[in-house]
Symmetry: C2
Amino acid sequence: MQGYDKYAYEPFAVTVDLAVFTIREGRLHVLLVERGEQPYAGRRALPGGFVQPDEAAETAARRELAEETGLADVAGLHLEQLRTYSEPDRDPRMRVVSVAFTALVPDAPEAQAGSDAAKADWLPYGEHRPAYAPLAFDHDRILADAHERVGAKLEYTGLATAFCPPEFTLGELRQVYQAVWGAELDPANFRRKVLATPGLVEAVPGAARLTGGRGKPAAVYRAGGASALHPPLLRPEGRS
Amino acid sequence: MQGYDKYAYEPFAVTVDLAVFTIREGRLHVLLVERGEQPYAGRRALPGGFVQPDEAAETAARRELAEETGLADVAGLHLEQLRTYSEPDRDPRMRVVSVAFTALVPDAPEAQAGSDAAKADWLPYGEHRPAYAPLAFDHDRILADAHERVGAKLEYTGLATAFCPPEFTLGELRQVYQAVWGAELDPANFRRKVLATPGLVEAVPGAARLTGGRGKPAAVYRAGGASALHPPLLRPEGRS
DNA sequence: CTCTTTAATGGTCGTGACGACTATAAAGAG
DNA sequence: CTCTTTATAGTCGTCACGACCATTAAAGAG
């Protein structure tokens, strides 16, 4: 940060890339666009775009998120910086430094075509070889990093509620954990742990709802105000 | 990442800032330089500099780390990207996007003056109002974010060994946790937890060393190969 | 209607991690 | 020698957690 006049500095292009996750039918989905131009024309890529001269990276990310998803209340969505990717050769055309973000969307409306007319839609996130791989640029790595980050944050923050609508059942919340971790969780034990963790959820009095159409109606909860969980909800077997 | 020809993009200057920590006499210290130029002349700041056209941000960070600390074996030091700070007004002169890194140094030799002749030395990290605050730019926030990150990573990774020399005693390792967390830990319980965590440390057979000059000589350990800890070593009371 | 299926909810039990605490061992200071 | 300091070993009660079982309340099939 010091020595401006002693170092020569080169200008960089700065972009944002977004790994936007949602839960659909109990499975984790990610928002991907289809590139229409070279390089990587026709390949899938994470949505994103250039940071404008007067905005912070997070502002740019939220603007792009609104453009790509068509969601109205982008202000309340969970958006978190993942990390910055700056390898000199990550874009064959020019020097591009990209700040990657992870976004969590509760209910997923159909994706909008972005302002650059690229096709955008939700595709299931798969552990093995997903049908859309490999993505353009280094987006496979960014997506994998984002998934790992989300999985880890579910353990020690109340982030899972960001995948849910304002009111939800414990079964829906459990499906979030199962979809992200790719593991089965015992409903009874999950319930005990969630209710024993202060600030994770709070009950909505007198409300009940049917989740899958079948089965006993479940009680309805709201997200609690806690950010850090004590104790954390650890994954069944280490990593995913 | 798409739509290069539809969006106008502005060039940004890209820098790295480093929050370099070490343990001295059982207390956490941070490496700070003194600015010699406007703005913030005479104020303390985190070491850092511009990213060169042909290097990644991490490469630039490691180069700056070598220049500022004078350490020879920078290759083996722990260096981790923290996050990127991109608020438009964070530098009054121009638009600067800074990728912040956290570095952990085991034994702390005296700091070198950087190549731009700025004074650099180790100052104790204080929870209250440190004597060097406020730092230049948004470095107070970066430093606080870095400290929180390091404290959190001690819980679920074997990162604490990065503060220690290649061979260390459990008392020295415990001092790392105490210095970063600002909390007292019971020696016996700490020993039981560390030894029960596979891959954290491994014993050096037949070696013993006196730590503080007094007391029974302690057994010597090396860092284990584990990155993630199972179970994690949680902080005594939530956050610090 | 009755029976089956499904999911929520409530409970038990054994294991293991952890904090508080006590005791012992090995060094230096006086 | 005694006292202090630090490492090391062990005990004990509490609590979190996983595996498991039982009950309840709804939908759907017949």
